[in-house]
Symmetry: C2
Subunit: 335 residues, 2 copies
């Protein structure tokens, strides 16, 4: 039977939430990934050194062994350099949200005044703290990411020493930015390598495929696939796996977020194999992130096997992407 | 208090379904409209003279008085002239669905082979039977209507004596076609005068605003408003009000259709007043349709009043658009 082994898989954009949800879902990622960059948009957000340390402790308490590293992030605000120097060793990045743009982002940045942000972003540059960005404006839903490109350009030009990660990119416009500025990087989710808006609202309306940024046009999907499949060195896997209880997804006014953590590696094998690019998956799912972030993850060897795997209908009260459907790769062993 | 009176309002695109659903919803339209063009996409579709007569009888049995005229339609197939001549007096139009493109359209047209369709469409031209078309391809969801324009052009050029109604148009591309061919007309829904894709998936996902064709971009909304508000003589109101039981809307895999029949006139008053175009509403909601179809509807005088009206949470088991929200016009009297 065909197998494929991945070393130290990393999920460089993950929502673990808190409380019971954290306890239910963190073990799923800890099982198959060496580490994950954990988003700070809790309620209230993670915005102090104490918050970071306490959240990391809660995550470690929720996972069954110590072969998993939560790479912590701080919720972006205009912080002073003293604070940043003090918190630097506890965090891997700072995550910036435009205010109100997605789940629990109300306390984010409401205007991109570069001069107001300069002290913080210069301190981050000097301390080597990368900036992760949810890059959407509040414009028309299909244009929000493309409209944000001018802000990426502003940030990239003004802070050439700052590593800026365009998170969960969904458009050709964002792909085209990658080679334009040396300090711009990107994460790509697995669902954005599979979906267009057609899958979300082209037939029936599919709440479990509804996320922000929303899946875009076929030509955008093609652009994302092109850089992911070649494992473009500035691109990393980040699932943006975002659990919501079933009741918040299958209701009038469905929350945004696709839950992929426990099926991400299987789906990635399926996609990369389909395009005969399995050899590039290691770089996309680990090596590139190690280089970009300068991290050395815990050793973990995950072997996947090409055999039918029926995606569970739910993981506790969270419905995963493709629930009940069969995918062609399964996790065979984790060492 | 400000009032506005409409004479013989007509809904030139309506889904009345059958059975209990028909009994529940037909009276809502019969109350405030003089007549409605009733879509034939039942299961199985309305495709014989007997079907038409029997369906009309079921509709009339479901409405409480005789001041309402259901204008009947036949489901398009390639019919021969003898059949069409025989059925002509029972129908107002024939409705063409591309196969599988929307609810109960599986038996529709699967390829637009003009020569295969020619005998039917020439007979319709000679008999003066208009062709109503659901104009969408099976392409990417945001492009389906624009892609269909070449088929409208093909039909309009090949059958210059055939009245062709572009149903429930949603794009600037369709609006631009109106003045290009003398035999092309259009219906516009009330929800497409209010919504863009932003309202459907830009914040939370909103199943009760999900329909086919899906609401498009802001520039499309502007184009639709421009011809509706001026009551362009080739444009008519057609609600495309499409009831589904609540269980089919608020679930995983939500059905397409917005239910507006009982609130359409109120919303139209609100929109036309907002743009200071109330004087044009009579043409949009009745006079244009009378001219285009050559119909003389039953007398009905509907007076609306500008006062707050809370949209009911449901009509039997059907949730209307804007359920629970307040709109600014209410029906005051119907004579």
């Amino acid at each position: 039977m065909k197998t494929h082994t991945l070393l130290m898989p990393l999920d460089m954009h993950l929502h673990l939430r808190d409380g019971v949800m954290l306890e239910n879902i963190a073990p799923l990622t800890a099982y198959s990934f060496s580490g994950a960059l954990v988003m700070p948009n809790l309620v209230p957000p993670v915005e102090s050194k104490e918050d970071v340390i306490a959240y990391k402790e809660r995550i470690m308490a929720a996972v069954p062994n110590d072969y998993f590293e939560p790479y912590m992030t701080l919720f972006y605000k205009n912080y002073d350099k003293k604070f940043l120097a003090d918190v630097a060793e506890e965090i891997t990045a700072i995550k910036l949200y435009p205010a109100g743009i997605t789940t629990n982002s109300e306390g984010g940045v409401s205007s991109f005044d570069i001069e107001e942000m300069r002290p913080t972003l210069e301190a981050m540059s000097q301390l080597g703290i990368p900036l992760c960005v949810h890059g959407e404006t509040d414009g028309f839903v299909m244009d929000r990411e493309a409209e944000f490109m001018s802000i990426y350009e502003l940030l990239a030009k003004n802070f050439p020493e700052l590593k800026i990660v365009m998170e969960h990119i969904t458009t050709k416009a964002a792909v085209d930015m990658l080679d334009k500025y040396p300090n711009l990087y990107a994460t790509i989710t697995v669902h954005h390598l599979l979906l267009t808006l057609d899958d979300v609202v082209g037939g029936m309306m599919q709440p479990h495929l509804f996320c922000k940024p929303i899946a875009k046009r076929p030509e955008d999907l093609d652009a994302l696939l092109s850089v992911a499949l070649e494992a473009h060195p500035k691109v990393m896997f980040g699932s943006d796996s975002a659990p919501h209880p079933r009741s918040k997804k299958e209701s009038c006014g469905c929350a945004a977020g696709v839950f992929t953590a426990p099926i991400a590696l299987q789906l990635l094998c399926e996609i990369f194999e389909q395009f005969d690019k399995l050899d590039n998956l290691q770089a996309f799912v680990s090596d590139n992130a190690q280089s970009i972030y300068g991290i050395c993850p815990e050793f973990k060897e995950v072997t996947l096997e090409k055999r039918p795997f029926v995606v569970p209908e739910s993981y506790s009260n969270v419905v995963p992407m493709y629930a009940g459907e069969t995918i062609n790769w399964a996790i065979e062993s984790v060492d």
